[in-house]
């Protein structure tokens, strides 16, 4: 490592650090994975655009040295769609959270999956709204305590990966901030995949969700991810009862049967210009 600069020196905006997140927050690990994935894919950093919405996770692109839009709550995907559609050469990545992506942005999410536009979406899932102080989100497990579910949540959570796959996303995977190498590989695969890809990064929020549900400090939560993680292939053989409290990791979809959206539109341009 004598002359070559470390990837963090060039891909992080050093002048914007330290970050705003709490001690022990898993978001930094996801940034680490994202940066290493971008490095791995060897894409031109000048062509990377990272779009985010609002929430803790959506601050991530401010710390990374790429083109970026920090947009409105839930809206990262339609902004990203406009960027990608107008200039398909750009590598567009969305960083979003469980609330941003599947609650206020839920409609945009399923339609982006349906469209199959070549955008890589990294969902930081910490099971609650962190930035506003720990309220329940669409991924808060049943019975969990949050600031707005002090008696335990009665709202059935979404399984983000199943939702994405059902809505038509062509690459879907999940990992946790404990399984960092897997996360790096999944994000890199998502970036290389020609189509809409979703990588869910299960992430600890020790300050709010973890504390309110007595999950211990950050290291305890990470160990919890390690202990409760089950690979998708194995999970497929387990009963619903056996899967209670488990985190299914691995690939949920990897399809090549659907054409990418901007490529399809190129054909439209071709035929429109040809007068058909």
């Amino acid at each position: 490592m004598s002359e070559k600069q470390h990837v963090f020196d060039t891909f992080l905006r050093q002048d914007k650090l330290p970050h705003i997140w709490c001690p022990g927050c898993g978001n930094g690990i996801v940034i680490n994975a994202l940066i290493r994935a971008i490095e791995k894919t060897e894409i031109d950093p000048d062509n990377v655009v990272i779009v985010s919405g609002i929430g803790c996770s959506s601050r991530a692109n401010g710390y990374m040295n790429f083109c970026a839009l920090h947009t409105n709550h839930g809206r990262a995907l339609p902004y990203a769609t406009g960027v990608k559609m107008f200039n398909p050469k750009l590598k567009v990545i969305v960083v979003t959270g469980d609330g941003d992506c599947t609650s206020i942005g839920g409609n945009h999410f399923i339609h982006a999956c349906r469209r199959n536009i070549d955008i890589t979406t990294v969902v930081f899932n910490n099971n609650n709204y962190g930035m506003t102080g720990g309220q329940f989100s669409p991924t808060t497990p049943l019975g969990s305590k949050t600031k707005t579910s002090v008696y335990g949540s009665i709202d059935t959570p979404f399984d983000i990966c199943s939702l994405a796959a059902a809505a038509g996303a062509t690459y879907v995977a999940r990992s946790t901030v404990y399984h960092v190498n897997m996360l790096i590989n999944q994000i890199a695969e998502g970036i290389n995949h020609q189509g809409f890809s979703v990588v869910e990064a299960v992430c600890d929020c020790p300050t709010l969700y973890g504390r309110l549900n007595k999950k211990g400090a950050a290291p305890d939560m990470l160990l919890g991810f390690k202990e409760n993680a089950v690979m998708k292939a194995k999970a497929d053989t387990m009963t619903e009862e056996e899967l209670k409290g488990k985190i299914v990791i691995g690939n949920f979809a990897k399809r090549v049967d659907r054409k990418e959206y901007t490529a399809q539109y190129d054909s439209i341009i071709e035929s429109a210009k040809g007068g058909h």
Binding site: L69, H70, N72, P78, G82, M85, L90, H108, K273
Partner: protein
């Protein structure tokens, strides 16, 4: 120069002119009475290598055109009342992040779903203040299909020049009515492109004032890496939450882009105002009824003229204040319960201001205006 004439609806003229002005991206959601702009964009844009997208809703439509504009596109959406309400959130982002975009906005009878197929002018204040917080916005209100064409070109130029959202305000009737218009030759108008940075990429600060109040804008992918937040941000685009001076300076620069350039932005028409004792203020298609009423009144010896703001926002208040000085009375004719009325009162000084309103989805007939005028003089 060759004169090309065509019969077009307001919506057709808007789409045709937008493409002539350089629009290469349109995202929208079907809504009466603006839908034809989406339909025509979907057909015409790919012919010139442009892109059309039908989004899942109006929030997404506004978001997508801002994204495309950030990547360098001249981009537009088209909508009406309920859709425009949904666009406000992301319209605020366009104002805050200074991303040039254009909205073709055909007003329909409100509130709520109102009457989708009938014209109204109930959204004059929403166009100005629908977005929360102080922000710049420009809105033009053409009065004819021909003017829809020329004002649409101007809307794109204003958006590119000032990095401010620009709204083209028509109504359900102007959007759908056909007129014979002259299509201007491309040599007759200028197509303005946003100012680009010239510094080396590593020195680029995307929101640094270069002395004009309007920072140069890079497109994603052209080598300048820039970041922008919808939060109050510094010249690097990064959020800053604990700096009162920067907060105040940022907002003043944003709104100053319009307020410091009124001479270039504002436009209006004065009709028979030279010797007028009375003045009727009116915008859009309705102003043509008002002109009819004025012509009839003049035949009866009533000295009345029309002041028609073409830019509704910024409202040409200084010119109206000058015109108001020697008038006996001002009238505001509008299809709502009184919106422009309040703005006119601010410019009227001591001159009394009288409302002529009708809010039923119908254009106000010249006879109705004349009758109301005569009752007050």
């Amino acid at each position: 120069m060759e004169n090309t004439y065509e019969i077009m609806t307001g919506n057709e003229a808007c789409t045709h002119a937008a493409i002539a002005a350089g629009m290469r991206f349109f995202a929208g959601y079907p809504i009466t009475p603006a839908t034809e702009i989406a339909e025509l964009s979907s057909e015409w844009l790919p012919k010139v290598g442009g892109k059309y997208m039908q989004m899942e809703d109006e929030l997404a439509s506004m978001a997508a055109i801002i994204g495309a504009s950030s990547a360098g596109a001249k981009a537009m959406t088209a909508t009406s009342g309920p859709g425009y309400s949904l666009m406000q959130e992301n319209l605020g982002y366009a104002a805050m992040a200074e991303v040039p975009i254009v909205v073709a906005y055909a007003m329909r009878q409100g509130p709520c779903q109102g009457v989708a197929t009938l014209p109204a002018q109930g959204d004059i204040m929403q166009v100005r203040w629908g977005v929360h917080g102080d922000h710049p916005i420009i809105a033009v209100a053409p009065a004819s299909v021909g003017e829809v064409y020329t004002e649409t070109i101007r809307a794109f130029n204003l958006a590119e020049t000032y990095r401010v959202p620009v709204v083209i305000m028509t109504d359900a009737m102007l959007a759908h009515m056909s007129e014979r218009i002259r299509i201007p030759d491309s040599s007759e108008y200028e197509c303005v492109d946003r100012k680009r940075p010239t510094c080396p990429p590593e020195e680029f600060k995307p929101f640094a004032d270069d002395g004009t109040g309007i920072p140069p804008m890079a497109s994603f992918g052209d080598g300048y890496r820039w970041y922008c937040s919808g939060l109050i941000h510094d010249e690097t685009g990064f959020p800053v939450s604990d700096n009162p001076q920067l907060t105040s300076d940022s907002i003043k620069r944003l709104v100053g882009k319009v307020e410091n350039n009124l001479k270039d932005i504002e436009s209006y028409e004065e009709y028979k105002t030279e010797d007028a004792e009375y003045l009727i203020v009116s915008i859009g298609l309705l102003s043509r009824s008002v002109k009819d009423a004025v012509d009839q009144a003049r035949q009866e010896g009533i000295k009345v003229g029309v002041f028609r703001p073409i830019t509704v926002w910024p409202f040409p208040e200084q010119r109206l204040a000058e015109l108001s000085q020697n008038k006996r009375k001002l009238f505001v004719c509008e299809m709502n319960e009184g919106q422009l009325y309040h703005v006119v009162r601010e410019s009227a000084g001591v001159t009394p201001v009288v409302q002529i309103t009708q809010n039923n989805g119908k254009m106000i007939a010249a006879e109705t205006i004349l009758k109301a005028l005569k009752e007050e003089i």
